[in-house]
């Protein structure tokens, strides 16, 4: 019946139409990521003075990011969002509120299971040691199933409560006024217990991370559908507010889980007492097995602790030498590459046991070529399938039960396919391109504020003649030894002679080429300022490219009939994330307890929410959860690692929590500016009318 009216477009014209469409979508995404890419490159070249390496791989990755973003966003808009909205409208109408809430529970829970970013929590927690934060270690490494369960219950409750709120037409504000103070109180309580304190960062980050690129548009569309079906009078914020709940309830879930587990876990101790024979039963209880304890000792502890894991010296030495074979290495080091272990953890004796003189160890991590693109793509494809397929099946299943069909089923199928491919391409592009770039810039970042000489490489001079070493005097009368070395650029420079680097037996000298720190020998204000600038730009730029935020912006613009522009919302959120990342960096640099940085903004947010209008309150609180998506999380984490490793903090948690607290603030303020402008106009109009 449909085919009779179908218009057939000649192939050439169709190609033109498709070409124009593809070009416009790609251009849009290229603009979205242009800022962050140019910013990172600019920073790397102009400030750090490095040159981008692996240019081909980077370019391929960045192109994949653009293509992936375009495909994914278009797929979400064509497939998942119409599907979600359809279910949102039909379900309450046909089956009533209880079934809708039950569906919300199911959707919330399964979206948590599907969320790939949860894995990022384990990555952040990888550096957590069992002695510093035993409870955190327990939750992250031993019982991640319980962690996912706690988060899932939180998200499920949030979606169900959100559906209830929409169909009853309730305001979001009472939910904020109850949830946030309760969370802050819970966090304060936890901060007083040394075991639970370590869990705070994880809990708040978990809240931020749960609402990813797929969950957000889906829940948003569902909410818009349900609240439209309810037909309550005027809430411009209709459909918004669930994401906020889905970020808040999991925090409570994780903290409560911690409280449940805390009695069975020992208090934090120092490394030596953790590995002492007296503590062995407690340590084994925490780690689960002897093998896990050994692996932990190899991956995180010093040589004496490793030694204490073995009954006698011989067994220990045998274990260390066995690192040379790959099966044993996987046992003891898991995924950590041997060179990294030798560089960061091995003692001099251990190094010698492995016959690894310094000159053979590749020092710089950034020279790591990484996995081949095809391997990354394959694993990301599986991730995309895991994320999108269950949720889509859930929605389609509901529609089948309701005997309903989406508006254009071919479009929805195409959309789902596009979002699947888009997500796989996007996440692999991020791994290959953006994260590599982020690492190249983020890891050397401490050079900005620390007097670290950058090791550029080693030159082995063989044979080396000691007679070529001269002595010079400084003005203070100190003697220094040096020799002349031809530089690769053609000149000759005087190089300080370090006797420790001279191997008299083999007649060779190992010269380590270093570059001096950027800003003098001490922690400098300019250096810190640059780090903050970098952090802000990174948060800002990464957020501009977030697909879930683009979906949120479009929804805001459509629902407000264009009175709130999506561009404005996106930039407000991006500025908020930038500020949040700066605050997170401050926390890492100065080791400020996370509670001190969480309580003030949230306490400020409560009165601001009180005076804000309903719709902006809902949009603002939602944008907090939206921001931490597939682009922001890896980039921000790369930077966090860079800075964190330089200042020796136990974990990088808290950055994401900050990055989701401040956008709420910025969007609330943006909303106030817009509303006050509208009010001023309305008042001006009314005054003119009164004077008529």
């Amino acid at each position: 019946m449909k085919d009779a009216t179908r218009i057939h477009i000649p192939l050439r014209n169709a190609a033109v139409m498709i070409g124009r469409y593809v070009r416009s979508r790609l251009a849009e995404q290229a603009r979205a990521v242009a800022f962050i890419i140019l910013y990172l490159w600019g920073f790397q070249i102009l400030v750090l003075g490095d040159t981008p390496t692996q240019a081909l791989r980077l370019t391929a990755g960045l192109a994949m990011v653009v293509v992936g973003l375009a495909l994914f966003l278009e797929g979400i808009l064509l497939g998942l969002m119409p599907l979600g909205e359809r279910v949102g409208v039909q379900l309450p109408r046909r089956r009533g509120l209880m079934v809708t809430m039950a569906f919300g529970l199911l959707l919330g829970f399964s979206s948590t299971l599907a969320e790939p970013a949860i894995a990022a929590l384990r990555v952040i927690g990888d550096s957590v040691t069992a002695w510093d934060a035993p409870l955190l270690y327990m939750v992250l490494q031993r019982r991640p199933d319980l962690l996912v369960l706690a988060i899932g219950i939180g998200v499920a409750l949030a979606v169900a409560v959100g559906m209830f709120r929409f169909s009853r037409g309730l305001s979001i504000k009472p939910f904020i006024y109850t949830a946030i103070p309760a969370l802050l109180a819970l966090s304060t309580y936890c901060a007083m217990d040394p075991r639970l304190e370590a869990l705070l960062g994880l809990a708040w980050d978990a809240g931020a991370i749960t609402t990813g690129a797929v969950t957000v548009p889906l829940v948003l569309a569902l909410g818009i559908g349900v609240s439209r079906a309810a037909g309550r009078h005027h809430e411009a914020g209709s459909g918004f507010g669930v994401i906020m709940l889905a970020s808040a309830y999991p925090v409570a879930g994780v903290l409560l889980l911690g409280m449940l587990l805390a009695p069975g876990v020992s208090k934090p101790v120092d490394e030596a007492s953790f590995f002492s024979p007296g503590n062995r039963p407690a340590a084994l209880a925490l780690m689960g097995s002897e093998a896990a304890l050994r692996q932990h000792a190899f991956r995180h502890a010093g040589a004496p602790s490793r030694r204490s894991c073995y009954p006698d010296e011989g067994a220990y030495l045998k274990a260390v030498t066995s690192l040379a074979t790959s099966t044993n290495r996987r046992h003891l080091l898991a995924s950590m590459p041997l060179p990294e272990w030798i560089n960061q953890y091995a003692s001099r004796e251990e190094r010698e046991l492995l016959h690894s003189p310094l000159n053979n160890a590749p020092v710089a991590l950034e020279n790591d070529a990484g996995d081949p693109i095809s391997t990354i793509f394959r694993s990301q494809c599986i991730g995309a399938l895991r994320t999108i397929v269950p949720l889509t099946l859930l929605l389609l299943g509901v529609l089948v039960l309701l005997r309903d069909r989406p508006r254009h089923h071919d479009e929805v199928i195409l959309g789902i396919g596009m979002s699947l491919i888009g997500m796989a391409v996007l996440t692999s592009g991020i791994q290959i391109g953006l994260v590599t770039l982020g690492n190249q810039v983020g890891r050397p970042l401490p050079r900005l504020f620390r007097s670290i000489d950058k090791v550029e490489g080693q030159i082995l001079i063989e044979p080396f003649h000691p007679e070529s070493v001269y002595t010079r005097h400084t003005a203070e009368g100190r003697c220094e030894q040096f020799f002349f070395l031809d530089t690769p650029r053609g000149g000759t420079e005087a190089v300080a002679f370090d006797p420790a680097q001279y191997d008299a037996v083999n007649h060779r000298y190992e010269h380590v080429v270093k570059r001096p720190p950027l800003f003098g020998p001490r922690l400098t204000l300019a250096g810190i300022g640059l780090v903050f600038l970098f952090a802000f730009g990174l948060g800002y730029g990464a957020t501009l490219a977030e697909p879930a935020l683009a979906a949120l912006g479009r929804s805001v613009e459509t629902i407000s009939a264009g009175t709130i522009r999506s561009r404005g919302v996106i930039h407000a959120v991006a500025a908020g994330v930038g500020t949040g990342v700066v605050v997170g960096v401050i926390r890492i640099l100065y080791d400020i307890p996370i509670l001190w940085l969480l309580v003030p903004p949230y306490l400020l947010l409560l009165p601001l929410t009180w005076i804000s209008e309903e719709d902006f309150a809902a949009i603002a609180w939602d944008s907090g959860g939206v921001t931490t998506g597939p682009v922001t999380v890896p980039l921000v984490l790369a930077m966090g690692f860079g800075i964190g490793s330089a200042v020796d903090v136990s974990d990088g948690f808290g950055l994401l929590a900050m990055a989701s607290a401040y956008p709420v603030l910025s969007v609330l303020l943006y909303g106030m500016v817009i509303r006050s402008r509208q009010r001023r106009v309305f008042r001006a109009i009314s005054q003119e009318a009164a004077g008529e």
Binding site: D410, I685, E688, A690
Partner: protein
């Protein structure tokens, strides 16, 4: 399919009230107090010019566009109570003051659910004031623009022409796009629908000028039509900013409108009319009818499909909310409102095809309204 005879239409009046969002709850309460059962609300924006200082250090003022959030209320009632309801609304939200909103009424043919009249108590409380304050001689220009950037030019032009403050709402275009198969995804379905109430005598002139200046005579430019308005009270405020005189020109015009009891004195487009008529392809089409359907969300697709089988070309569908004063607990407020412009000779066939669909699927909950257009413009190949 469309051979079943068209049922007898009831004459009715559709009242459209566009108010600033800050007044929307007052309007909803007033309508609830009148006992009007079926109120449709749509979010929109009202665009006006605003004088803002140029960025420092440039001197002088620049004109920018200001969007005010606006709600469009649509109600349908018996013709004999329309003026009473309108006056009641004008009093309730003080529409007589400028800048607060517009209200206008169009006589339509209504099919579908029976019209519930106002209760006698509501009528008593409203009183009957005649059509004081309401003016005649208006026409509604509706433009359906594809969201490709030309809507801003259009809105700017209406304000430049001092034709009125345009109300812009969003919709989805279906029709030709749906007949392209999957290739349709390359054409954005989002449409901006601009509603503009202008003096009837000038309507054609303004329409032609708008077509000319916003290049709507090019492919993909959009679609314009004009329908009669029997009476209304139109917001005269087009520009926000410090008044430079004791009264703004809009206020003076409104005052003269009141004195002259109409807008006929404003006619200004004779010369322009003649000039533009010379252009080829600028012919306005007549003998078209506007068919508006209101249905439960999700029903619009089927209805548009049936209408197109019966000869309709394209439709624009928007989502609206239905306020129900009488049933607070029922979860069923999502509605779709669709507009079709069809040749008068096909109109009955299409209307009966739609009504047949409703008979086959009562859950669509269709309400159908038709209205003769006075002029239609679209790009002709």
């Amino acid at each position: 399919m469309s051979d079943s005879p068209l049922p007898q239409a009831r004459p009715a009046t559709r009242i459209t009230c566009c108010v600033h969002q800050r007044l929307a709850s007052r309007a909803a309460e007033a309508l609830e107090a009148f006992g009007i059962p079926d109120v449709l609300v749509q979010s929109a924006r009202c665009v006006r010019q605003q004088a803002v200082p140029r960025p420092w250090p440039l001197p002088g003022m620049a004109t920018s566009l200001n969007d005010s959030p606006t709600d469009i209320f649509r109600i349908t009632c018996h013709r004999d109570v329309a003026i009473t309801v309108m006056n009641g609304l004008i009093d309730a939200i003080e529409l007589s003051a400028s800048g607060r909103g517009s209200i206008y009424a169009q006589n339509i043919d209504d099919y579908g659910t029976s019209l519930t009249g106002l209760s006698s108590t509501a009528l008593g409380s409203l009183g009957s004031k005649g059509k004081s304050g309401l003016l005649t001689d208006f026409a509604l220009i509706t433009a359906i623009l594809s969201g490709a950037g030309n809507e801003n030019a259009f809105v700017r032009e209406t304000l430049e022409l001092r034709a009125g403050a345009p109300i812009v709402s969003l919709g989805i275009g279906t029709g030709i796009r749906d007949r392209l198969g999957l290739l349709r995804i390359t054409i954005p379905p989002e449409k901006e629908i601009v509603h503009l109430v202008v003096p009837a005598h000038d309507a054609d002139g303004i329409l032609r000028l708008l077509v000319e200046t916003t290049h709507m005579d090019r492919p993909g430019g959009g679609f314009l039509y004009r329908t009669p308005v029997c009476f209304g009270r139109i917001d005269p405020m087009l520009r926000i900013g410090k008044p430079q005189h004791a009264a703004s020109i809009e206020q003076i015009i409104a005052a003269v409108d009141d004195l002259k009891d109409g807008t006929a004195w404003r006619q200004r487009f004779r010369a322009a009319d003649r000039q533009i008529a010379r252009h080829e392809g600028m012919r306005l089409q007549h003998h078209y009818r506007e068919i508006t359907f209101i249905c439960a969300e999700g029903g619009a697709d089927l209805l548009v499909q049936r209408a197109m089988q019966a000869g309709a070309g394209a439709a624009t569908v928007s989502t609206v909310r239905r306020l129900r004063a009488d049933a607070r607990t029922e979860i069923d407020g999502a509605r779709e409102i669709g507009t079709l412009i069809v040749p008068t000779r096909n109109a009955d066939d299409i209307a009966s095809a739609l009504l047949t669909t409703h008979v086959q699927k009562p859950e669509i909950d269709l309400r159908l309204q038709t209205l003769d257009t006075q002029a239609v413009f679209s790009h002709q190949r």
